[in-house]
Amino acid sequence: MSTLHTVNKSAFERNSLESCLSVCKADASVLLIEDAVVSALQGTSVSDQIKQATDKGIKVFALGEDIKARGLSEKPLMDQITLVDYSGFVKLTTENDRVQNWL
């Protein structure tokens, strides 16, 4: 009975990723979309937050189309993060039991 969380705002600008991770269970998945994908880069001021989450077992994904749009597809992403496309996004919503959208 797992939950998919989506986050669409940059963690450098808003608290929504932090709030999201603070209530994620170990079997949760988190998908970064829209401006939130910038949080997926390596070596940023929010990388530790994401690493702590994945260490607990939380799976973190980022939407490739949004990464590409922002010119970041050649930048190294955190090893802990898995890229998906829109069809992968749809699949994540079906593989989990509910969707919590942090707006």
Binding site: S2, T3, N15, S19, V23, C24, R98, Q100, W102, L103
Partner: protein, 135 residues
């Protein structure tokens, strides 16, 4: 009961700065007619939605905060407030409205609808949802 689902509303924004608090309340009230299992969560700046003594006359808006007191009459009595969000904002539960309902299973005694919760309990509430609505 096959069509009864658990609806969890997550309220995270301060009132008046955006319309989300007001338009969330409108959904909750309309939704009450569907007789689902409803839980309301107030976290992050959403805790400001329940402050006492709101008075938006000076900014030209109407005060909708009194409507929260009516939630109990709509059988909406599972209201969860994130303790950490209060702490971070220098608030205590006494700064918020006391929301109550009359318990029909206990001789209509008046009881508090409000439950203070921590983040672990919040994650249980989220995982208890069939449908999550975010405002």
């Amino acid at each position: 009961m096959s069509n009864t689902k658990t609806f969890v509303y997550i309220n995270r924004k301060a009132p008046y700065g955006t319309v989300y608090a007001l338009e969330s309340l409108e959904v909750v009230l309309i939704g009450a007619a569907f007789e689902q299992n409803v839980k309301l969560v107030f976290m992050d700046d959403g805790v400001f939605q329940l402050t006492n003594a709101q008075d938006p006359e000076g900014i030209g808006m109407k005060n909708f905060s009194k409507t929260y007191a009516a939630l109990g009459d709509y059988d909406i009595n599972q209201i969860y407030i994130d303790q950490q969000s209060l702490d971070d904002r220098g608030l205590t539960i006494d700064d918020l409205q006391a929301l109550v309902y009359e318990d029909e299973d206990d001789d209509w005694n008046e009881k508090s609808s409000i439950h203070l919760v921590n983040r672990e309990q919040l994650s249980d509430i989220i995982d208890s949802a069939d449908v999550l609505l975010n405002f």
